[in-house]
Amino acid sequence: MSSHPLRSAWLLGLALAACGGADRGPASSGHAPGAASHPAGVALTGAGATFPNPIYSKWFDAYARETGVRINYQSIGSGGGIRQFMEGTVDFGATDGPMTDQQVDAVQGEVLHVPTVLGAVVATYNLPALGRTPLRFDGLTLADIFLGRITRWDDPRILQLNPGVKLPAEDILVVHRSDGSGTTYVFTDYLSKVSPEWKRRVGHATSVEWPVGLGGKGNEGVTQQVKQSDGSIGYVEYVYARSNDLPAADIRNAAGAFIAPTLKAVRAAAEGGSFPPETDFRVSITNAAGAESYPIASFTWLLIHTGDRRTPKDETIRAFLAWMLEPGPQRMAADLHYGPLPVMLIELIRRRLGAS
């Protein structure tokens, strides 16, 4: 922890306070350099999505070192984040799936969904015979596999998408998330867009009624199940797939090209999203336009209050958001395999934050 001078100063202050009595409080952190622009000891509390927790922790830590503003984030899940934000028990919320109109209306004042990073969902599978050749799917085929309509790997529709690939004459075992998650939200959002039958029968949400398959708990649960069963297919978070080097299928995007999940393709998807000037950023970028867009991509958002209801804490979170949009913090995101926001979107967010 020696690389965190401010935190050590603060801890030292605490230690001194503990030894020396009440005359020396934790306020001694205010002497740390760089804290001049903010009142010392300001602490914000936020809660929500687990998916961006690694990058948020990194950001909040770096931000505290630079400015002295401490932000305490509890990764309790998007649902809990939205609830606590609506109840006003936290200063900001965080979510992988946008709030519904009903929920937005229930909040006093206005709500802004601020995109922070991009995530993506990959289809991973276990077909040892394939080696490193990535499989190719289009949305409808993927939907039909998860609907249980395509049950064999040598189904003509899969063969047609993968000419020259030797697919085994095996049953497909579908693996999905059993716990409610933003990953499931994005994946089912995509399937709902490409398959009318999926939209009618299943729909999209953080947990849905799966027509077929086994449920694994968390990315790791799905991954283990897929790794252990030949002929299985599942979906996991892109960051998780990258850091564990899982096979990932190329997916055909709206423009008809097969796209591998990469940060570049995910960013292209964000650029392909349509943002009206007065947008509140509740925009789905699954199946986005653009020749290079990876189709199963999504934002993750911070929820903040705008409009009339503005407290000093709201100003502080705005200051953080402005900091987050700078190139340095966005690079940190890429280091952790999160998709950095495209430049045009950063400009748009800056404008919206300034205007509201």
């Binding site: 649902g79 809990g80 409610g180 299943v202 009624e209 283990q224």
Partner: protein
């Protein structure tokens, strides 16, 4: 801070200028008050719990009523909920656990109290109690990485080959399944059943054994005809303790059961339990009805636990009328 040792107390007690009787009656009052307060905390906490669950579940109770218990749809998108597969899964996985764990742990307990050489009694009992200290997520991970591969590659195919004529052992083998969850539960429940049964068996008076042996019984006959029947109510108490643990276990079960909201005849098929569903969906549940349905499930889990425990207790009373070790304690 100076600790009062027993010797200090003994030295102080007979001091002539402090009438010890009066002082102790005052401290008795305080002590009694404190204990009463402590005892009251439990029922108060329990009623708060029931009240909160009922409050949380009201929306779902109003919409689904008792159909919730008998229907099988679980569709958060359409906000249609039914908990039958969850109740079924909870009861079946616990039943499997007991079927495996009870004979095993009873055997161990009998061996340790009646047959084992003195040197190994304590070490073995200690090792088994150690199983109880392992966190359930560790059981779950061990289940995923070690148990499931073994079950899928050797145990399940063997069961299917031998008992395949029963619907219980038919169908495709995925690994995560009702049976896998039951087996991990059995391992988790065993230390509880074992240690309590061992205590109970140890408490059987030696005169009982001696009388039986004097009448010409072998060691084996003495155990089966005298010791175990004498301790039966205590042993059943041990089983109930294990059952309670099995019904409520969450993490290890959800990692191994496959989490499929469905009822299947085969034990190889995935299932779901009430506790697992709550743990899985609560954090990300956004809709009010979804949350309420989960609270309803929690309420039902509470009801099921109370019913199962009450039923088992009733059984003990009927069995244990008369004498026996542990019948009074239960």
């Amino acid at each position: 801070m100076t600790a009062l040792t027993e010797r200090d107390v003994a030295r102080e007690a007979p001091a002539p200028d402090q009438p010890s009787l009066e002082r102790s009656s005052y401290s008795d009052q305080v002590f009694k008050g404190l204990l009463t307060l402590a005892a009251l905390v439990i029922p108060v906490l329990l009623s708060f719990l029931v009240f909160e669950l009922w409050e949380g579940a009201r929306l779902a109770i109003a919409k689904f009523g008792l159909d919730f218990v008998t229907t099988s749809v679980w569709d958060p998108v359409a906000e249609q909920f039914g908990a039958f597969p969850l109740i079924f899964g909870t009861l079946i996985s616990s039943l499997i656990a007991l079927v495996i764990a009870v004979p095993l742990s009873l055997g161990v307990a009998i061996y340790l109290t009646e047959f084992a050489p003195k040197v190994i009694r304590q070490p073995v009992a200690f090792l088994i109690s150690l199983l109880a200290a392992i966190p359930s997520v560790v059981y779950g991970l061990w289940g995923i990485f070690v148990l499931i591969p073994i079950l899928r590659k050797s145990v399940f195919p063997l069961l299917r080959d031998v008992f395949g004529f029963l619907p219980l052992f038919q169908g495709p083998i995925y690994g995560p399944s009702m049976l896998a969850a039951g087996i991990i539960l059995a391992i988790m429940v065993m230390p509880f059943v074992m240690s309590v049964s061992r205590e109970v068996l140890t408490a059987v008076p030696n005169t009982q054994r001696e009388a039986s042996l004097a009448l010409g019984a072998t060691r084996w006959e003495a155990v089966i005809t005298t010791v175990v029947p004498y301790a039966r109510s205590g042993i059943m108490g041990a089983v109930i303790l294990g059952l309670g643990r099995a019904l409520g276990e969450t993490m290890a079960v959800t990692m191994l059961i496959g989490n499929r909201h469905e009822i299947a005849a085969s034990l190889f098929a995935p299932g779901y339990t009430m506790a697992a569903a709550i743990a899985n969906e609560f954090t990300e549940a956004v809709g009010d009805m979804h949350l309420s349905a989960l609270a309803y499930v929690a309420f039902l889990l509470f009801v099921v636990t109370v019913l199962v425990n009450a039923g088992a207790r009733l059984l003990i009373w009927r069995v244990a009328r008369g004498s026996g070790v542990g019948s009074k304690a239960l």
